[in-house]
Amino acid sequence: MLPYLGKAMTNLFRKPSTEKFPVGDAPQAAERYRGRISYNPDVCVNCGMCMRVCAPQCMHRDIETLENGDQKITFTFDLTSCTFCGMCADFCSRHSITLTDDYMMVGTQPEDFIVTGSFIKKAPPPKPKLTPEQIAEMKAKAEAAKAAKAAAKAEEPKADA
């Protein structure tokens, strides 16, 4: 007990090691801290990889078809459902999802915890129509290839002998 008493006495005259935090700015988080998700819809390719790897299924994709045939794709990240594992960011090939170092996720409303972003996916151009001749030509090509393959197969045993 005596050493503790000594320690207590010396501590009494030292500066407290307490952070000042609620007064003033929040301190910087540690390097590579995984905090609030940021989502950049502009580079997203809508691959859906993030949704596949997300264990708590915190993201939600809304697909809304616009009048002109384009799709408005909205990704919603519910931070109150996220485990901040960073898997989505790792798997995102275009780095559209990143985890920032903002940890101050405090709020009174559900909206405070929603990270969302949307982009328009252009409808692809209409496909060209094939004529019957073209189809017949393609079929013939396929037949020829097949025959060639069969011939090659027949020659093989000979080569072995």
Partner: protein
């Protein structure tokens, strides 16, 4: 005047009661670390109590499992007015990775009003301190409203 004094003290001495509703202990440890020298919540009068009867702020962590559901409800009923509920971490608000499990009966909103939520798995102690600070303001407002 006396009532005003009480209102002001309400924000200066909030006592916390912590309910673990099936949490993995991550948030619980972080909550305790709020009282450590580094974050020292006691300078705002925070104090962990052992009983809901003396609590002003009820901090709930963990998804609401079937086992803890009734206990949680009982504890929440036993807290004297006015009080504030804080949901700590992602689990109580959504169920987190346990979402959809057969043994989860959440989220917390289903059983009580949640005044302040902290997201994170787990939240940093600074975030918890900020949430508690917000909770004290709400506590004061609640008391004022009740008085009217």
């Amino acid at each position: 005047m006396f009532e005003k004094l009480i209102d002001n003290s309400m924000a200066k001495s909030p006592w916390i009661f912590h309910v673990n509703a099936g949490s993995c202990n991550g948030c619980d440890i972080e909550l305790v670390s709020v009282l450590t020298p580094r974050y020292d919540a006691e300078r705002f009068g925070f104090r962990l109590t052992g009983t809901p009867r003396q609590a002003d702020i009820v901090v709930v962590s963990g998804p609401i499992t079937l086992q803890t559901r009734d206990r949680l409800r009982r504890v929440l009923e036993q807290v004297p007015e006015p009080y504030v509920v804080v949901s700590l971490g992602s689990c109580p608000k959504s169920g987190n990775v346990f979402k959809g499990s057969y043994s989860i009966d959440g989220p917390l909103d289903k059983w009580t009003h949640v005044d302040v939520s902290v997201a994170g798995c787990t939240p940093k102690p600074e975030a918890i301190v900020a949430a508690l600070a917000k909770a004290t303001e709400i506590l004061k407002e609640k008391r004022k409203e009740m008085r009217k």
